[in-house]
């Protein structure tokens, strides 16, 4: 035994254990995110049971099992459960009851010992609603214009077909509200700004001004008429839909009438086969990725956040690539390799370790307030005091992140340049190429993969960075995407939504954290996927590159 210890074997195993722990942590973390993120969209079965704490009347409960845990009887009593004290441990389940508008809490813990047998009623319905989160209950009646057209067993079929019929109407309403009214509003705002410009313009004579302002007034009226038309069309559609109503009954026996327009997606998970569930699952996932958020971001999709993240990163790439690559070429190929450039190199390297929030502070002070404020003064004076560039926006966010990721690109490019064998340079120069030609024709093409690696790593870092964005332009709910059909199409001054910030916002700032939690997991999953894919690409390119140069230098 003594010898065994002296030879250090236990210590080696202890070290091995550290590796094992690290691996378990890493894999467990990813596994947790992937599993929980994907699980959210699966239409799990709806359970129904009667619940009675000792001495109480039983109540009917229906919902989805959210999570279960084992705890001691004392701990359970401390949390306010009435349980019999035989045995030390009890199991409790958290049930998502939904029906936030009827019951006050949509997530409730129930102790298993006090439950009756779980049932999975075939006709239990889960309704995803536009407001108040999910609804769980039984469909009782379908009404059209107040008259009952179906009830009992045939209600579901009738309801399903009516709902399918109305989907195009609902979609049209959404399009009118989101796109068309937005466009008209943008035009009206444009006219208003033109009016203000006209008033500020002192070179115009009085009649000229009057004439132009008359033209603007007419334009404005035209747009306002269009606006009214859109609203009217929307109201017509709404009226069409509002004729259809479904009457549900909750587990407690409460009756609820729901207009069809309030329903996003009805389903009967208990009656679905695995195949149907899979189809439903894919549909849910697609809705999540391609939909707009609802209810303070705790429901609906994350399209604007995905779009904002991608767009902001792309704009950042446009800035960071030329600057990073050219700076690296300068430092490696042109600058005199002395102590000064070594110092600069170390500094650039270290800049990658500077906290991102510092870049955010710089971005806010310098880009947003200083530069943005200046731009507003000179170019958007008619919009003041409401700022155009003098507030956070895509442009400033991408510039800030470009600064943040500059070291990544520089270091990576420099590494690529350093790895190119001197013989290639010498060969080019010996053939009479100028330095510029040598670089442009031989060195840079060879170093391109290194640059791409750097760029991908930069993009991956930028996509996951949240702290600086909170200061320079990310918002919880952007009224419009930074790209749309209104001139000039790319609105770099607009604030935007971001996957990472979405996670923070829904997880920590929203009024109903529990309801939003699955969505946070799903968002995290998407973000992790994007970043892992980007990183793996970079790693593969880099490895490929290493192999190639190893082969060439042999």
């Amino acid at each position: 035994m003594r010898n065994w210890f002296n030879r250090g074997i236990p210590w080696i195993w202890l070290n091995a254990g550290a590796v094992a722990i690290s691996l378990v942590l890493v894999v467990g973390l990813f596994g947790h995110i992937v599993f929980t993120g994907l699980q959210h969209f699966w239409p799990s079965n709806i359970v129904a049971f009667d619940y009675a704490e000792p001495g109480d009347e039983p109540v009917s409960v229906m919902g989805e099992v959210d999570r279960s845990e084992v705890l001691s009887v004392q701990a359970a009593q401390q949390r306010g459960f009435q349980v019999d004290e035989d045995g030390d441990l009890i199991t409790r389940h958290r049930i998502k009851r939904g029906n936030r508008d009827i019951t006050d809490r949509d997530f409730t813990w129930y102790v298993q010992e006090n439950m009756s047998e779980w049932e999975y009623p075939e006709d239990a319905v889960r309704v995803e609603r536009r407001q108040w989160g999910d609804f769980y209950g039984y469909l009782r009646e379908v009404r059209v214009g107040g008259d009952v057209v179906a009830e009992g067993d045939e209600a579901w079929e009738r309801f399903d077909s009516l709902f399918a019929e109305n989907v195009p109407r609902i979609e049209e309403i959404g399009r009118i509200e989101r796109v068309e009214i937005g466009n008209v509003n943008a035009e009206i705002e444009e006219v208003r700004l033109a009016q203000r410009r006209l008033q500020a313009d002192e070179t115009l004579s009085e009649p000229e001004r009057e004439e132009r302002s008359q033209a603007l007034r007419e334009e404005r009226e035209r747009w306002e008429a269009e606006y009214d038309q859109l609203v009217e069309r929307r109201n017509e559609l709404l009226e069409d839909i509002e004729r259809f109503e479904a009457v549900f009954e909750t587990a407690e026996g409460h009756r609820a009438t729901m207009p069809l327009g309030d329903i996003v997606k009805p389903s009967r998970p208990n009656a679905m086969s695995i195949g149907e569930k899979t189809v439903f699952y894919v549909g849910e996932f697609w809705d999540f990725v391609s939909g707009y958020p609802r209810e303070a971001n705790t429901e609906g999709g994350i399209l604007p956040a995905i779009f904002g993240t991608v767009f902001m990163t792309l704009v950042m790439a446009v800035f960071v690539t030329p600057f990073g690559v050219l700076a690296a070429i300068y430092m490696r190929e042109y600058a005199k390799q002395g102590p000064l450039i070594r110092m600069i190199r170390i500094s650039v390297n270290n800049l990658a370790g500077v906290p991102s929030i510092v870049f955010g502070v710089f971005g806010l002070g310098f880009f947003v307030y200083f530069m943005g404020g200046g731009i507003d003064q000179f170019f958007y004076a008619e919009r003041l005091p409401s700022p155009t560039f003098g507030k956070g926006g895509v442009l400033w966010a991408s510039l800030t992140l470009a600064l943040l990721t500059l070291p990544v690109v520089i270091v990576s490019t420099e590494e690529g340049l350093a790895r190119i064998p001197g013989s290639i340079r010498h060969g080019a120069l010996a053939l009479g190429a100028t330095k510029g030609e040598m670089l442009w024709r031989t060195v840079v093409p060879l170093a391109t993969p290194a640059m791409i690696t750097g760029l991908i790593l930069a993009v991956a870092r930028a996509a996951g960075e949240v702290a600086p964005l909170m200061l320079v332009g990310v918002v919880k709910l952007a009224p419009a995407l930074p790209v749309d059909g209104n001139f000039p199409f790319f609105h770099l001054d607009r604030s935007f939504m971001h996957l990472g910030f979405h996670i923070y916002d829904v997880g920590f700032q929203s009024p109903n954290v529990e309801a939003g939690r699955p969505l946070v997991y799903a968002t995290a999953l998407i973000l992790v996927m994007v970043i892992i894919v980007l990183n793996l690409t970079a790693i593969i390119i880099r490895n490929h590159l290493r192999e190639r140069f190893r082969a060439e230098s042999d």
Binding site: A20, Q74, N349, P355, L439, A463, G500, Y504
Partner: protein, 774 residues
């Protein structure tokens, strides 16, 4: 080069085969063109390269330039000098300005209010107050600075109480200010205080609060101190206000003591009286029918010391007392060790050389100006304990009155000669000093000096508390616990995978751990805050038993594998795969600990460990340092692992081979040779990891609860510098003190991480050199 070019000279005769080589001129042109392109390319690249470097320098310079102003002092510049407006020889008792500094007012000894332009001294209007014929003004008082209330004490036992108001209108877009006098109490008729007795109001104090108007007066000859309260009651149905005059007699501070100053706070619960005995007397009048002289404290030292000036700071909590010895000190009520509220001297400021004659509090901050009989005027700030500016008008001129503009950007000084001096004041950041940032500060309303960070509040009287200590401690605490978790794990893992691990396993392990570095910290933060924090709270015994059991289980597993299991079985797994073998052990221990957790709680902690901790007097926050340490440890493990693994892996092989050849076991070779050689690399890995932990924002923002407390309790939260910036920066007013302090925090973070990383980089560089020489 083609053959043609080498065999035919350029420009050869038309008889020879046609040359494809360009002519001399063409070649020259081409060469020039290429040279120009080369030059342009070089220029462009140089511009970009230098531009990037300049930008990075600019970042530092900008952060510094945004921070620097908070350390500057104040400037005062005389912009106007004139004789007393509406000259008449009557001494000036008080001056004031409205917020735009367009109009100023002067209250004279003969009960007149003269409105004038502060820049020129030109009179706008004059109002003669209702003073009975033959009655003289004996004293003068002001309410809290922002209230614009003033009171005259008269020798017939009455007082005049009024307010100077300004109507602001914008006809044609231009600002116009019409000054006027209003009477919150009575209609300009003198108010009765000692009228029946016919005593003069030797000293007067006025205040107006929720209860109504109070006039406090003292007659030194008869040693009478009286509070007259015009109590206002609003009928909440009709909105009519009824006023009732109530009279309360106060005990005289001490027989033979002359009263010189009177102040009452706005809640009308505390009364402060300054005496010619150099003491401050505190009355508790929360029960007005039964007023109590609680205590008398010596404020001014010396034999014939006298409290010569006294005024409230903004908010009417702190009193500034100026004495005949030139001293200036701040006082407020604080509980002493016995729990009694006592008027306590908080701090004293740079003294004047002569008796203090006037105090001019600022209207929006805890700053004030003092003036003395030797013609000196000083600008102070209470919280930061700073004297920011000094002005000397000349030895002969005794300053009668000093007052600050409502936006603290101007000052009016009235000399004994009757001359007015109007000053521009630039005093943007008086709240900051070294002591305000880094030392314990005694804030208003607290009983002890303390480190507090509380940057804003809903009320205007709020005293901002900018102690960086809680944030710095929080930052270090978070980083410390993160390193406590990450450093051992990462370094041990690095040793194993660099030295013992089978190459095939290493090709999988290293990238797997390293890819963690790319994981957005917002995800770690959200998992820590939403999943780990409640989970840990419910399964505390599991966490601690895992920490305890895993190392033991590894050694047990090692014993079993190498000694107990027959070699035939264990020999099938080659050396270097121990890490993989232990994965099931880790999982088993984890599962065991979690399933045992509720039982452990039942057996040892009365069913609930969290409750048990609370019963032991240990505060437990759900989002605490334990959670943050693990989450942030997660974030820095890949960094430390990757760098130290490289350092260990690159230790020249012949060193270890030498050690092994001399008979060392592999473990001895590692400890004595490899670790020793690679230790600088490991050190720099820890440095870089620490730097990352210090600056990490999202994890601490989401998993700490963000309460700025000063302690190292693992079960409590904290607020770090970076999270503080993220929380408060969007709300900070641009260019304000708060904004600049956040810039300072960013600068500190910047410098700290930059220095840490530079040290690490230099160490690593040296190490690389050493390796290549070995």
């Amino acid at each position: 080069m083609t053959d043609a070019a080498s065999t035919h000279s350029p420009g050869s005769g038309p008889t020879g085969p046609r040359s494809y080589m360009p002519s001399l001129q063409q070649r020259q042109r081409l060469r020039r063109w290429r040279a120009a392109k080369d030059w342009c390319g070089k220029g462009t690249i140089a511009i970009f390269g230098i531009g990037v470097i300049v930008t990075l320098v600019l970042m530092f310079v900008y952060l510094f330039s945004e921070t620097a102003p908070i350390f500057g002092s104040a400037e005062m510049e005389a912009v106007g000098r004139y004789d007393a407006p509406g000259a008449d020889g009557a001494p000036t008792l008080h001056t004031a300005m409205e917020r735009y500094r367009q109009v100023a007012v002067r209250f004279t000894d003969d009960a007149r209010a003269v409105f004038f332009y502060p820049t020129t001294g030109e009179v706008i209007s004059e109002e003669v107050l209702n003073r009975p014929e033959g009655v003289n003004v004996t004293d003068f008082a002001t309410g809290e600075a922002r209230s614009r209330l003033v009171g005259y004490g008269l020798d017939d036992g009455t007082a005049i109480f009024l307010r100077h108001d300004y109507d602001i209108s914008y006809p044609g877009g231009e600002r116009q200010i019409a000054p006027k006098i209003t009477y919150p109490e009575g209609n300009g008729e003198p108010l009765d205080v000692f009228a029946e007795e016919g005593y003069a109001l030797d000293v007067i104090g006025v205040q107006r609060g929720g209860l109504g108007t109070a006039i406090i007066a003292a007659n030194n000859e008869h040693e009478q101190l009286r509070v007259v309260l015009f109590k206002e009651d609003e009928d909440f149905l009709t909105g009519d206000v009824t006023v009732e005059r109530q009279v309360y007699e106060m005990p005289w501070p001490e027989e033979g003591v002359e009263v010189t100053q009177i102040l009452m706070n706005t809640t009308m619960r505390n009364l402060f009286v300054g005496g010619a005995d150099g003491r401050l007397h505190y009355y508790d009048i929360s029960n007005r029918r039964n007023p109590r002289l609680v205590a008398s404290e010596r404020a001014i030292q010396g034999g014939d010391a006298e409290v010569t000036a006294m005024d409230f700071l903004l908010g009417a909590v702190s009193i500034i007392a100026g004495g005949s010895d030139g001293s200036v000190s701040q006082w407020f009520l604080a509980r002493n060790e016995q729990g009694e509220r006592r008027l306590t001297q908080i701090r004293s400021f740079e003294p004047h050389g002569a008796p203090v004659t006037s105090i001019g509090p600022e209207h929006a901050r805890k700053g004030f100006a003092t003036a003395a009989a030797d013609g000196t005027v000083q600008l102070h700030h209470a919280t930061s304990d700073r004297t920011l500016a000094r002005l000397n008008l000349g030895d002969e001129i005794e300053v009668d009155s000093v007052s600050m503009a409502p936006r603290q950007n101007g000052m009016l000084i009235v000399g004994e000669d009757g001359g007015f001096r109007y000053l521009d004041v630039r005093n943007p950041h008086p709240e900051i000093s070294f002591s305000a940032l880094w030392q314990k500060v005694w804030y208003e309303g607290r009983n002890n000096p303390d480190y507090v960070w509380q940057s804003s509040s809903a009320t205007q009287e709020f005293e901002p508390k900018f102690s960086m200590v809680p944030l710095t401690v929080g930052t270090l605490k978070a980083a410390f616990y993160a390193m406590l978790f990450a450093a051992p794990l990462a370094i041990l893992a690095a040793i194993y995978s660099a030295y013992f691990m089978a190459p095939r396993m290493r090709t999988v392990t290293k990238p797997t751990i390293e890819i963690m570095e790319a994981l957005p910290t917002v995800i770690l933060g959200f998992l820590a805050g939403l999943w780990a924090a409640p989970y840990f709270e419910n399964n505390l015994p599991a966490i601690f038993s895992i920490l305890l059991l895993t190392p033991i289980s590894f050694i047990v597993a090692a014993w079993l594998w190498t000694r107990v299991i027959p070699a035939g079985v264990s020999g099938r797994v080659p050396a270097g795969w121990e890490g993989a073998l232990l994965i099931p052990v880790v999982l088993a221990v984890g599962w065991f600990a979690v399933s045992m957790s509720p039982l452990l709680e039942v057996w040892f902690f009365g069913g609930d460990m969290r409750q048990w901790l609370t019963d032991q007097g240990i505060t437990y926050d759900q989002r605490n340092a334990l959670v943050v340490g693990m989450a942030m440890g997660f974030a820095v493990i890949p960094t430390i692992y990757s760098i130290s693994e490289d350092a260990i892996f690159n230790v020249p092989k012949h060193l270890t081979q030498g050690a092994l050849a001399l008979g060392a076991t592999p473990w001895q070779a590692v400890v004595t040779v490899v670790l020793l050689t690679a230790s600088p690399g490991i050190f720099s890995a820890v440095m870089i990891g620490f730097g990352r932990a210090v600056g990490e924002t999202m994890i601490v923002l989401m998993a700490t609860g963000n309460s700025p407390v000063v302690n190292f309790n693992i079960f409590e939260g904290m607020r770090t510098l970076s999270a503080n910036i993220a929380v408060e920066m969007p709300e900070a007013a641009v260019g304000g003190t708060h904004y600049r302090i956040l810039f300072l925090a960013a600068l500190v973070l910047f410098l700290m991480t930059f220095v840490l990383n530079t040290i690490a980089e230099v160490v690593r560089h040296r190490l690389r050199k050493k390796y290549s020489s070995l």
